[in-house]
């Protein structure tokens, strides 16, 4: 009976496309919007992801997320280094500083100060120059997006294109000269501010003087160390907070989830997509069943069981669901692909596909259920009614 079910479904092309369009829309909204949401959330911890080498991040216990810097005394670095199980520990400065551009305007930058000796925490992808060039006098490395856009030299004519910052150009950080010695590729951050890498000691010089300047201590554990035990040792010994890379990411995105309206806003959009998709697909599928009720009645009169008709409707629902889901996910993926070089945040992990797949499956089950109930309750004697 499967081919009969499929022919019944595809026979009315308008209705068939209507159902698929409804499900495609629902699938698209339930994939694309969460993908933007996940992309935004991933940006909240993108700096942590980019710093891949250390196992543990040590910070002030009051820190709530990556940009919530609560500086520590530099002596904390030496205390951490002294803890058993620590292979090495390096300082990291992170702060928002104003850069004065060549045209006299100011731009807030995310300044990262790396350990002078090891340069641990530096960008993984250098597009121009080398990380070691940071050791040159007044050297800084800027990220490509910042160099092209916010730190770029303004156009000489109004409305013209700005000139990207390049190696050898200079800018001022807190009245101190900084020379661009490299251009790096970094993952966009939530605020999308330009990222400026320099050495720890130079970053301290750029930053307004404070008693405490150390933002984070980056720790590498000795081989074979139990990470949980080492974290506990660091916390007990120093009174500071310590997280693995994943733990710190979780702390950061949990903060954004709890303290910003982003999840609610996206949640509403996704819920609306689900409701509208259910309404369109549900109504069209239900109408399709209603219009085919006489045909189902004929099959029932001829001896087709409720189970057979149920399987036919389920097959129809699975088919339109599968096509709608595939199209929706495909369009969302294409959208993400086309937007890959833009500022738009977009990330589509496999869990998201499971999420939207479950959503579409739920719609199909609900839609099929309503239709199935109608067909099960159908009196085959309807076939003799004109």
């Amino acid at each position: 009976m499967n081919h009969i079910a499929l022919k019944m479904l595809m026979g009315d092309k308008g209705k068939y496309l209507g159902i698929i369009m409804g499900l495609t829309f629902a699938s698209l909204i339930m994939t694309q919007q969460p993908a933007i949401f996940v992309g935004l959330m991933a940006r909240s911890y993108s700096f942590i992801s980019d710093v891949g080498l250390p196992d543990i991040w040590v910070m002030d216990p009051k820190v709530q997320f990556i940009d919530d810097i609560k500086p520590m005394q530099e002596t904390e670095l030496y205390r951490v280094r002294g803890i058993s199980g620590v292979e090495w520990a390096t300082p990291l400065y992170k702060g928002m500083l104003k850069a004065r551009l060549t045209d006299g305007t100011f731009q807030t930058c995310n300044v990262i100060g790396l350990d002078d000796t090891t340069l641990v925490g530096g960008p993984a992808v250098m597009l121009e120059g080398k990380l070691s060039d940071l050791r040159r006098s007044d050297g800084v490395i800027v990220d490509i997006d910042g160099a092209k856009d916010k730190l770029g030299k303004p156009a000489s004519i109004p409305g013209g294109k700005s000139t990207p910052l390049k190696i050898g150009d200079s800018l001022e950080l807190n009245d101190r000269r900084a020379i661009v010695v490299g251009i790096a590729k970094v993952t966009r951050t939530f605020q999308s501010q330009p990222v400026v890498y320099t050495t720890y000691s130079r970053a301290k010089a750029y930053a307004p003087q404070e008693r405490r300047m150390l933002s984070f201590v980056l720790v590498k554990a000795k081989p074979g160390q139990n990470m949980d035990e080492l974290i506990k040792r660091i916390e007990t010994t120093t009174g500071l907070a310590a997280y693995t890379q994943e733990g710190f990411k979780q702390l950061t995105y949990t903060y954004f989830l709890k303290n910003t309206g982003i999840p609610i806003n996206f949640g509403i959009t996704i819920a609306l997509g689900f409701i509208v998709g259910t309404a369109i697909a549900g109504q069209t599928f239900y109408n399709f069943t209603l219009e085919n009720l006489r045909q189902f009645g004929v099959l029932k009169a001829m001896g087709a069981s409720n189970g057979t008709l149920l399987r036919m409707i389920l097959l129809q629902a699975v088919l339109v669901g599968g096509i709608g889901y595939g199209l929706g996910v495909g369009i969302a993926a294409l959208f993400g692909f086309l937007m890959r070089h833009t500022i738009l945040a977009f990330k589509m992990p496999w869990q998201l596909l499971v999420f939207s797949g479950t959503g579409v499956a739920l719609i199909c089950v609900m839609v099929a259920l309503i239709s199935i109930l109608k067909v099960i309750r159908l009196e085959p004697a309807i076939v003799f009614k004109s």
Partner: protein
């Protein structure tokens, strides 16, 4: 003269429809025997209970009281699964509005009863093509219902009713949507192809033009069988 065995026996059949605020009696004590190899027509004014009676005979509607035995089987007492199987194997339907599945071609439409009975699709469609040949539509096996005339669609419906060799064929106004010539052709076809000694045809009709094809005619009125006659002339 040999006595034909009874194929359908209706005894004191009553059907009351409960419409919520009132009850409508559609059949009120119907008694009737239909013999094997017989073409029986049920005639009478609209609302007299003809369609209700064939629905009960075909096992797609349960009577409120009374007994209806089809080839010795009381469908009311059968388990729903057995009833479905009995219907699938023993009954063929021809409807006024043909009720062909619009997205299936002629051969696929005709093959449906065989597929319901578990026959493989390829075999069913091959048999369907043979059956369409018998009803004169051998060249239109791939045509969709919308591409066929009313008479041709009814021929497809007849082929569908016959394909699984049922013992009972119930027809609801099979000629009322057709012109005189097509109606006569359909009735000739029914007599030639559908009717044999192992089969019963019960036809509900208003169409006096086809009364002459009946072996017997049962006239109904107000939920009763008023009289059963052997020819149309006796109805007057």
């Amino acid at each position: 003269m040999t006595v034909k065995p009874i194929a359908i026996r209706c005894q004191n059949i009553t059907k009351i429809y409960d419409t919520g605020d009132q009850q409508v009696t559609a059949l009120n004590g119907v008694n009737m025997d239909i013999l094997m190899g017989e073409l029986m027509m049920l005639v009478g004014p609209s609302g007299c209970g003809k369609t209700t009676l064939i629905s009960i005979i075909a096992g797609i509607l349960d009577q409120t009281s009374g007994d209806c035995k089809l080839f010795g089987e009381n469908l009311l007492t059968l388990h729903s699964k057995d009833k479905l199987q009995f219907r699938a194997e023993n009954i063929g339907f021809v409807f006024q509005a043909y009720n062909l599945l619009p997205s299936l071609n002629a051969a696929e439409n005709v093959s449906v009863p065989l597929i319901i009975n578990g026959v493989k699709r390829a075999v069913a469609e091959r048999k369907a093509a043979d059956m369409l040949e018998k009803v004169g539509l051998g060249a239109r096996t791939k045509s969709l219902p919308a591409e066929l005339s009313g008479g041709q669609q009814q021929r497809v419906a007849i082929a569908r009713a016959l394909i699984h060799s049922p013992r009972l064929i119930v027809c609801d106004e099979p000629t009322s949507a057709l012109d005189h010539e097509s109606g006569h052709n359909i009735m000739h076809l029914m007599k030639e192809v559908a009717l044999d000694q192992q089969r019963v045809l019960v036809i509900v009709t208003h169409d006096a033009r086809i009364f002459n094809f009946a072996d017997r005619i049962a006239e109904m009125d107000d939920g009763h069988i008023v009289k059963v006659v052997n020819s149309a002339a006796e109805l007057k």
